[in-house]
């Protein structure tokens, strides 16, 4: 909710670990708002708050004693527009999330940076220019750099808000392949307005419409035999 305006209501979902969950729905249906509530990012918008609970490993992340910054190190987020930090090198970008923790030690950091870049399928392309500016990379590479930056602090969950909508098809494909590998180690929730993408990458799908959760289930079921007629209308392209 933002102030008095309820953006999303009536959602009850479970996300089992090490799976990819897609949130789909037409523009403005509240899926991004919901995603941002999962790592308390929506609080940063004016007047953002929630009712209800969000449980991570059984603990409510909105409980009074919880530190939102520490939470965000366990629940990372990748945004639609690739945003490498401009004045920093590639390796400094990847280690940016580590430096908040107070973890020093050059040697240890270099290892973590390499690991993160390998897991983001970017290592081979940048290993010779780790100290070059991050702005010299292509859009798809920048997005993979943002993914590497997000996974370097070893989060448990990765949230992705339309991560490929600013990329070309080749870049999109590489990110989607990446998600298959990443889910081995992380739980992934991805918001996408591209239904084919949701059908390709996710294990479970949730359909949002006008701020409400309409249907939730295994991806195959949602896309072949949806229970709700609004879901079916969206899937078949009748609106949105």
């Amino acid at each position: 909710m933002y102030g008095k305006f309820t953006a999303v209501k009536g959602v009850s979902l479970r996300f089992p670990v090490n799976r990819v969950h897609a949130l789909i729905g037409p523009s403005g249906c509240g899926k991004s708002t919901f995603l941002r509530a999962l790592n308390r990012m929506h609080e940063l918008s004016i007047g953002g708050w929630i009712t209800g609970r969000v449980l991570l490993d059984g603990h409510d992340i909105y409980a009074p004693g919880v530190n939102p910054m520490q939470l965000r190190r366990r629940v990372g987020m990748v945004f639609q527009k690739p945003t490498p930090f401009p004045m920093m090198s590639i390796s400094d970008n990847v280690s940016a999330g580590l430096r908040v923790d107070g973890r020093r030690g050059r040697g240890a950091m270099a290892e973590v940076v390499e690991q993160a870049l390998r897991r983001a399928a970017l290592w081979d392309e940048v290993k010779d220019r780790l100290h070059a500016s991050a702005m010299a990379l292509s859009g798809g590479q920048q997005q993979r750099l943002c993914i590497a930056r997000t996974i370097a602090p070893e989060p448990e969950v990765i949230l992705l808000d339309e991560p490929t909508s600013a990329l070309d098809p080749a870049g999109t494909q590489r990110i989607e392949e990446l998600l298959f590998e990443l889910k081995r180690d992380y739980t992934i929730v991805i918001v996408t307005h591209n239904m084919q993408q949701a059908a390709r990458v996710s294990d479970t799908t949730t359909f949002f419409y006008l701020g409400s959760m309409i249907e939730h289930g295994p991806t195959r079921q949602i896309f072949t035999a949806p229970r709700d007629e609004q879901t079916e209308a969206y899937i078949t392209g009748r609106f949105g």
Partner: protein, 281 residues
């Protein structure tokens, strides 16, 4: 066919008018530089920078004490003005809607428009009258008061240009708000801030009025900021309004030195900007 020729003719005429305007706009600078070089360059030699002023009527001598004085006074002003200006600018940009930011911005705009002599009088009232003596430090305080709104405005405008997506990316990594402001945002805008600081320094280096009632000027070499000090603009003022030909000659030379200093700072500011763009490739 005729209409084409007419259009082209008008276009050429307008380009010509604009070209003339460019020349007219640049002319004052060229005239100033030209006059100063012609009148002052002859007096510039190493002695000029190293020697002290000689008694009235004698020839020779230099403005060593003014050079040192300007460096110290402007240096101290920068030490005060830059951190305060930057911090205020960062706050106003990062917490845009807050009441403190609105008030600060308004105050800075008023201060920017305040005549520098008024700022000098204020510094006199607050520092010189209380301490019952003139001092270079009072001069620095006055110059800092002029510098702060300049630095603050430049910093604020630059930081506002940083896209919010960058801040969100930092916050999503677990950065606290203050660290996002300092580490990420400021680092991104640093070349621009440096430019703003250099330009502000160039402006205050040439300010004379505030120094008239604060640093006062001095015949002697001094490094104690708590005493009256010489400064290049003050020297120009004193020598130019004096009765001796010799003094007039020195005034021309000092003015030339002053404008060269301002020019160098401005060029440095331009170079800092150019670096940033070429890195973007």
């Amino acid at each position: 066919m005729n209409r084409q020729r007419l259009r082209r003719g008008i276009s050429n005429l307008m380009v010509g008018v604009m070209g003339v305007s460019v020349v007219l706009a640049v002319l004052p600078l060229l005239l100033i530089l030209g006059t100063l070089v012609v009148k002052g360059a002859g007096s510039i030699n190493l002695d000029f920078f190293l020697k002290m002023p000689v008694p009235a009527g004698e020839t020779g001598g230099g403005v060593a004490n003014a050079v040192v004085g300007t460096l110290l006074i402007v240096g101290a002003a920068c030490l005060i003005g830059i951190p305060i200006g930057m911090a205020a600018g960062i706050y106003c940009a990062e917490y845009q809607g807050s009441r403190l930011a609105l008030i600060t911005r308004f105050v800075a705009d008023v201060l920017n428009g305040t005549p520098s002599i008024v700022v000098g009088v204020v510094a006199w009232t607050l520092i010189v009258a209380r301490q019952k003596h003139f001092s270079g430090l009072a001069g620095s305080a006055a110059l800092a008061m002029l510098m702060i709104p300049m630095v603050m405005r430049t910093t604020e405008e630059l930081i506002k240009l940083v896209p919010n997506s960058l801040r969100e990316a930092a916050l999503a990594l677990g950065y606290p708000r203050w660290r996002t402001s300092l580490s990420i945002v400021v680092r991104t805008t640093l070349p621009g801030i440096v430019t703003g600081v250099l330009l502000a320094t160039a402006r205050i280096a040439g300010e004379t009025a505030p120094l008239l009632f604060t640093a006062l000027g001095s015949q002697f070499m001094g490094t104690n900021l708590n005493q009256p000090m010489a400064a290049l603009p003050l020297t120009v003022f004193t020598y130019a309004t004096g009765p001796y030909e010799e003094w007039h000659r020195l005034a021309w030379a000092t003015a030339l030195v002053l404008i060269v200093v301002v020019l160098l700072l401005s060029v440095a500011a331009r170079l800092a900007t150019r670096q940033r763009f070429s890195r973007r490739g």
